[in-house]
Amino acid sequence: MAKMSIEELKRIKEETTRETSLRTGTARIKITVHMGTCGIAAGAREVMNALMEEMAPAERADIRVVASGCMGMCSSEPNVTVEAEGEEPIVYQHMNANKMRQVFHRHVLEGEVQTDFALAKI
């Protein structure tokens, strides 16, 4: 891929500002990938990258992805927490790239909790 020029970046910025101004801009859903040593060793990085790949085409400014530290449940890593506004946070366990894609599409986008992968409600 050729390196983007500053002009291209500015054009993208203008387009994006237009688009985001149409949306509310506040995060409605927060997805936390736990990235302690335990999570990283168990594959949290691949989970995070799969999530990023799904996020890019979804173009949803109301979904926020964050990394955080270990949550103390090292044996069930990689753990991912999905917090949708007005709903109980769901912790998913033993995640991998494919399970993350499924959780993103079914739970985050369509609102259907994937109980097979869930560890707990908080």
């Binding site: 990938v33 995070m48 992805v65």
Partner: protein, 188 residues
């Protein structure tokens, strides 16, 4: 950890947990000199001299939630198992610098692995932190500075889909180029 890039992710996360908002990561591969060097610097809270001495002990941690801390001990072990070493310099209130050296062609040296995935996880998972990343393989270099990207996008957050697509693409194609031994200079 299967890859050195996972250790880098882990040590950088330590810095962020210590309150850093700037992380500098440099990976230098010198194949002729048979050496691979990794440096991770943060401007977090830092640790005292006596803590530096104890930090590679897996049964030492400053954390209170659990009594073991594996991160730096694992990197230290990964370096020592292939004839390298790890050094930590730190000053309370200023930050920490972790240097690890590896013998490049040692049979027990873990592969560097997917640095693009490590950097995207860091940059996009920690949007409030600035990252300066440099990866040099012999004469070729890939450099990425989130402050420059932020400036170019005039304040748009790195979590904006277009900004992060740009970051992912730049890192992936840049790393690919380095792997192929391309001569292109990625620094503008």
């Amino acid at each position: 950890m299967k890859e050195l890039s996972l250790h880098i992710l882990d040590v950088a996360e330590n810095g962020i947990a210590a309150g850093a908002d700037q992380i500098r990561i440099a990976v230098v591969e010198q194949r002729q000199a048979n050496r691979l060097q990794i440096r991770i610097e943060d401007n977090g809270s830092g640790i005292s001299m006596e803590q530096v001495d104890r930090v590679v002990d897996p049964f030492y941690t400053s954390r209170t939630t659990r009594r073991v801390g594996m991160g730096l001990s694992l990197l230290d072990a990964a370096a020592r198992q292939c004839g390298g070493d790890m050094r930590i310099q730190s000053e309370p209130g200023k930050g920490t610098q972790v240097d690890a050296q590896f013998v490049y062609d040692h049979i027990d040296r873990a592969p560097l692995g997917d640095m693009a995935a490590t950097m995207t996880s860091l940059i996009l998972g920690r949007p409030a932190v600035d990252f300066q990343y440099r990866h040099r393989v012999d004469g070729s270099e890939l450099a990425l500075d989130t402050r420059e990207i932020r400036q170019a996008f005039e304040g748009l957050p790195v979590t904006d889909p277009r900004v992060f697509r740009y970051i992912m693409q730049t890192l992936r194609s840049g790393e690919e180029r380095l792997r192929r031994g391309g001569q292109d200079q990625w620094r503008k």
